[in-house]
Amino acid sequence: MWTRREILKAFLGLPFLMACDNRSKIENIAGEIVGADVLNGHKILSNPLFEVSNNNRERKTVVIVGGGVSGLSAAWKLKRDGFNDFILLELEPKIGGTSQSGENELTGYPWGAHYLPVPFKENSLLITLLDEMNLIEGRTDEGEVIIKEEFLCRQPEERVFYKGRWYEGLYLHVGENDQDKIDLENFQKEIDFWIDWRDSSAKRAFTLPVANCSEDAFVNELDKISFEDWLRQKGFSSERLFWYCDYACRDDYGLKLHETSAWAGLFYFCSRVRKSGEESQPFITFPEGNGRFVKHFYSKVKENVKLKSLVCEIIPKEDSIEVVYLDISDKKYRLVEAQKVIFSAPIFTAKHIIRDFKENMPSYLKEFEHNAWFVANLFLKDRPKPRFNRDFPLSWDNVIYESPSLGYVCATHQSGIDYGATVFTYYYPMCAEKDGRAKLFSLSWKELTDIILTDLWRAHRDIYSLVERIDIMRWGHAMISPRVGFVRSEALKKAKKPYRGIHFANTDLSGVALFEEAFYHGTRAAEEIWSDLRR
């Protein structure tokens, strides 16, 4: 067991003496650890023999394993194309995977993913989805979509807390010196260079989905060094620029600057800007974050979805594939005989599920590493009071400069609810931790709550009296890690290949965890299968 001193040091980097001990004030706060059925998930590991009685067998042409964005996109696509003989099996009682959301009387709130940048016009299938959801207002003369204002992240978008005050924006301008300014300007030039760069076949270096990025060796080189090394090689030294890039890596990938591939780092900054000098694509967001997309998919494919169904084994046979799953409601094993399987669960789990892989694990699966996160929803009876009149006001995204957390997103912001009760979604990637996952799961609700509130207390002295409830979700395998060398690795290429009728489709296959990627792989797998079946 750890002492509080050790925990706060490890999680907040806080000198213990600076952290006020407000643990007694937690007594009045309700809450629990929610979600992710770790016990059930890990059952696959411990139970090699599954007995399925005869009346628990059925046939479906297609089985989709996993109901995250990728599995749901596959289901959505199949349905759209008029194909209905499929079943989607999802382990959790709740649909959506890392894009799921919750809801109370006041507002929806995310448990994971919370925004999607407006796609370029080339991403036409994704635009079809947005259209179907009635998010699109029109098109520009160039054919880019215009999203309805109420779905674009409302201003004020971001603020950062630094040395006692809140400032507008994410990049910290206050107090920057000449070197900082020069570095920022040159960094922007580097980004602009990559935004405008095209290979011999006019492909962009960075775009979405990753599958459309140039594979030119010149770009792929970037995957061989870390983002930190790349910054140093380019001669940057500004502390706040490094902070800014580090924040970007932690926020998007759950990795620290030195762990992240420079390719992934630049991808973050370049892939959503049409051409140099233009603004980055605006964010589409909802109170419940990307949970809104999940809800939409679910409304379309609900009848094909079976929740609380843990897929335990996939057995490819000569002319069919058997999928065995545990029905968690009645604790019975069931079997579906299918022609095709779309594997949308995290890719590394394939080694525990696909029979051939269990027996003979493909070495490339070892390279799929996930990092752990925890996400907390704080239910507040009122907003924290600004400490200074001139403090930049509560924004959508609220970041604390000195904290290893990512700060919090205000769930009521997008609905225009600017007074009174609200929900803050607090994000903490375990990247600063050596064995993050184990540490995360060794802590109790109370200890995690202590971390969260001690962190937020730096910026909000009244936080303890405002929070009524804190629910915490631990994501043991939150996001794929685009470490140096992974995005352009052979492993990734191999993992994308279908195996005996099993088509893989998870954001992991892009090396970065993003809605666009999950959607791409889901719909791609659906298309592949559909064209195979028609043959």
Partner: protein, 510 residues
Amino acid sequence: MKKNFIPLLFLNVAIIATCGLIYELLAATVSSYVLGDSITQFSLVIGIYLSAMGVGSWLSGFLEDNLAKRFIEIELAVAIAGGFSAPLLFLVFAHLSYFNLIFYPLVFLIGVLVGLEIPLLMRILKNELDFKKLVARVLALDYVGALVASVLFPIFLVPYMGLNRTSLFFGMMNAAVGLWGTWLLEHLIKPKDLTILRIKGFAVVLVLLTGFIKADSLTALAEDALYADNIIFAKSSPYQRIVITKGKAGYALYLNGNLQFHSFDEYRYHEALVHPAFAAHNGNPQRILILGGGDGLALREVLKYPVKSVILVDLDPVMTHLATHFPALKMLNENSMSDSRVQVINQDAFVWLSETEEEPFDIAIVDFPDPNNFALGKLYTTRFYKLLKSKLKPDATAIIQCTSPLISRKSFWCIVKTLQSSGFFVEPFNVTVPSFGVWGYALVKSEPFEIPTKLKAPTALRFLNEETLKTMFQFSNDTSEPEEEIEINRLNNQILVRYYEDEWQRFEHQ
């Protein structure tokens, strides 16, 4: 005997004199802020203060020995009483209704203490100097100090330091004189008293210094100093600080320190806000929507017509409650909030509009505070106006208050353009409301329309007639649409808040 301590003691005389006059000016200023009528307050304060000084001088005759020690103690007492006078008075005002009971005794107390200072000092000095010189110098310096104070006070202290900090600062000066005195007059004080005096002195300086540094939190209370008239009501709701003042010219309402109306000319503002909408309506408007306008004054104008129902959506229940029950407001809005046709809803109009299932309205009156923050700025976006449009009948009219086209020209035209880009046909207009200046509005409809020429009000109005109605829609060279490019205000840029801030900043102090 130290030779050079005499000139230094004279310096102290000047400081003491400055401090003394500052406290007097502070008291007079605070009381005229809080109680109004500055002439009365100033002359009362000066009278009480001077007489109290007389009492102090007279009392000094009763002090026999240990004069140096007494002098220092009095300095420290002045430091505390004078130094904390302004913060204390503001505090008292915010929390007590019997301000006078604290105020005049406090002025008297400070006066007595200040009155003790100079006679004592003169008696201390009399052994060192001949009487003729002494009187000449002390009195001269006393008057010089007064001059310094009276010049500094309006030019530098009030505008730059504010009342609270000025008060605390001069308290520290007094304490410093006292503390310094423990060295200058060391030879006249018993050693055992010396240490105690010094400790006390440091403590007083420290307390005042803390106050000085923390003055920001005190100014929240002192905010009332902004108001020129008597404050007859002040309360912080969860949404805003509401202050109602009463002066010679009538009542005024302030939200977060911004004037919302003054009774002496509010009819101009509210008639222009309401009647053109009825004038431009071609049918028989029955269902009226008022967004904002929790003071009930726009409602008063609306109820002049035979309408069937009015929904009034205002964020702040404290405000609408005041408008319904507070005598001064009830009188002004002619008890309109209690009319049976009126339904009051306390919600953010943005949230209400996006959720409501009310049938469409014939007329909407949109009367929000100016867009000086993001929460208000969202009420001026295309999103908001589209929501509004969807809640209006096809032939409905609406009027939106759009801030001043003179002071914030870009903001005004930004609102007009935003309305246009939300699908409204817009006729902007402006009127002069003396307590606001030139004020702007937009008359809008979902279909093309002619500027109205006939008023439809059943009774004559105080301000509007058909001549004014015509000219309102004309803009002068300094209020017309500027050449420069103006963006449309959307939720995801909130450009209006930035325009507004830039434009109004030119008029702010600090």
